[in-house]
């Protein structure tokens, strides 16, 4: 479904991504991890064209992202994305947040959009908050609304960019619960996260990045079960992150 071929990206002279190649099949749950500044977020943002790249190619459901002729807004509307800082629209109610893109991008009627939006809001357990503004919700609740907002567009896959990093420890669980449920329902997911418990439990592949390169790309059981076979950098990272 997602095919990333030899993608490289520079900010000026600084190379942030070097020759990244990987793929995500339908139904896959892929976790991307690695130290800060390793290019994880940049990589995931190139997939829906939020970050342009200078070399290589990304093919999403048969459509090339880097092709200047590609209708990016249309392509993006088919890919859900969840951000570290939630990025709900603060001037809209929860319901409006859920419906605005459905109405303006997909051309759904207001009733249909509302029905869809509230269905997903119910699924993340926040139907009682439908008339509130994002600022009145806790971080965990906002992130669950953001996930519902993505799902309401009926995406073919979901991208998560450190969805729990900005949350209080107490609220990490409620967001991960939603993501686990989603993964078990067969949603194709690519997820930048440091939640190794989540990675171990639901992902079927782990990608480890360092300095803009994909250092490890292997099945989850292999990644966690056989640390001695891992690259030095990944082994180091794992031993630190799993120490506590």
């Amino acid at each position: 479904m997602i095919q990333i071929n030899n993608v490289s990206k520079w900010y000026g002279d600084f190379q942030v991504l070097t020759d990244c190649t990987t793929s995500v099949k339908k139904g896959d749950v892929v976790v991307v991890c690695g130290p800060s500044g390793s290019g994880k977020s940049t990589l995931i943002k190139t997939i829906n064209g939020l970050e342009p790249f200078q070399k290589g190619d990304i093919v999403l459901d048969g459509i090339s992202v880097g092709d200047p002729k590609t209708n990016l807004p249309k392509l993006r509307s088919r890919v859900g994305m969840v951000f570290q800082n939630f990025e709900l629209f603060p001037h809209m109610t929860v319901t409006q947040n859920l419906t605005v893109a459905q109405i303006k991008v997909l051309g759904r009627s207001e009733e249909l959009a509302r029905e869809k939006g509230l269905k997903y809001l119910d699924r993340v357990g926040l139907i009682s908050q439908k008339d509130k503004f994002p600022g009145q919700l806790s971080g965990g609740q906002q992130q669950r609304v953001a996930i519902a907002r993505g799902l309401a567009m009926d995406p073919i896959c979901m991208l998560f960019d450190e969805p729990t990093s900005a949350l209080d420890p107490e609220m990490v669980g409620e967001v991960l619960d939603v993501m686990v449920k989603l993964a078990q329902e067969g949603m194709t997911m690519m997820c930048v996260t440091h939640e190794m418990g989540f990675a171990r439990k639901v992902s079927n592949r782990v990608i480890f990045m360092d300095e803009g390169k994909i250092v490890e790309d292997c099945v989850t059981t292999e990644f966690f079960g056989n640390p001695d076979a891992r690259a030095e950098r990944a082994k180091n990272f794992l031993s630190k992150i799993l120490a506590y």
Partner: protein
């Protein structure tokens, strides 16, 4: 000290002052504000455009106009617009524009530059992540601006936009240099006819300060109502 003042002059002329003078002032203020905010917002979008020629052109215009005194712009437009109009449509005679239209165009073009800078700050106050989130949902540039960025920019900038409007309201008095009957123009006509300059100008100052004070209070109230809940 006030013994030889004659405040009856106000009673005799208030209808003219308000229905002719103040009506013109308010009408021009409101229309110039609306026009100025619309043009200013477009200018701000141009200034922030990643396409260099557009942003440089908009920036050049804004900086040029902001460095010229308003009185000069009023004079220029009043005498130039008829000729420019004639040149555009290819007429031999200067086009009759009328005092109100001429002033309106002047004020929209002038105030747009100040509103532009306010809106530019407003747009930049909306985080980059909001734009990313909007794009990620499939909204295009104009939808992102219209539904996500500008509504937040307006809310963040309401106090400053309305403060600028209070300034505009006072600036409108400068049209009296064209002998137009705005509030100050009307007052000075009456003042000179009746020889009651001090009384009249005291009254004008009082009316201006009362109105501006009321407007400022309104701004504060409005701000509370439309502020984004954070």
């Amino acid at each position: 000290m006030f013994a030889n003042f004659d405040f009856n002059v106000i009673e005799r002329s208030w209808r003219y002052l308000f229905f002719d003078g103040m009506a013109f002032t308010l009408e021009l203020t409101v229309m110039a504000m609306l026009g100025g905010i619309i043009v200013g917002t477009l200018l701000a979008l141009c200034r922030l455009s990643s396409f260099k020629p557009v942003s440089m052109l908009a920036g050049g215009y804004v900086n040029l106009v902001r460095s010229i005194p308003l009185v000069l712009v009023i004079f220029w437009f009043y005498f130039l617009v008829p000729y420019i109009g004639a040149w555009v449509i290819g007429a031999k005679e200067p086009v009759k524009v009328g005092a109100f239209s001429s002033c309106l165009i002047t004020f929209i073009m002038f105030e747009a530059c100040y509103y532009c800078e306010i809106m530019r700050a407003g747009i930049q106050s909306v985080s980059r992540g909001q734009v990313s989130a909007s794009y990620a949902l499939g909204l295009n540039y104009w939808q992102t601006m219209g539904y996500v960025v500008l509504p937040q920019a307006f809310r963040n900038m309401t106090p400053v936009l309305l403060t600028q409007t209070v300034v505009l309201f006072q600036d409108v008095s400068l049209v009296y240099v064209l002998s137009i009957t705005d509030f100050v123009g009307a007052a000075s006509k009456v003042a000179q006819r009746d020889g009651r300059l001090v009384e009249m100008y005291l009254f004008v100052a009082l009316v201006y300060s009362l109105l501006c004070y009321a407007l400022s209070n309104l701004v504060a109230k409005l701000q509370k109502r439309i502020a984004i809940i954070r």
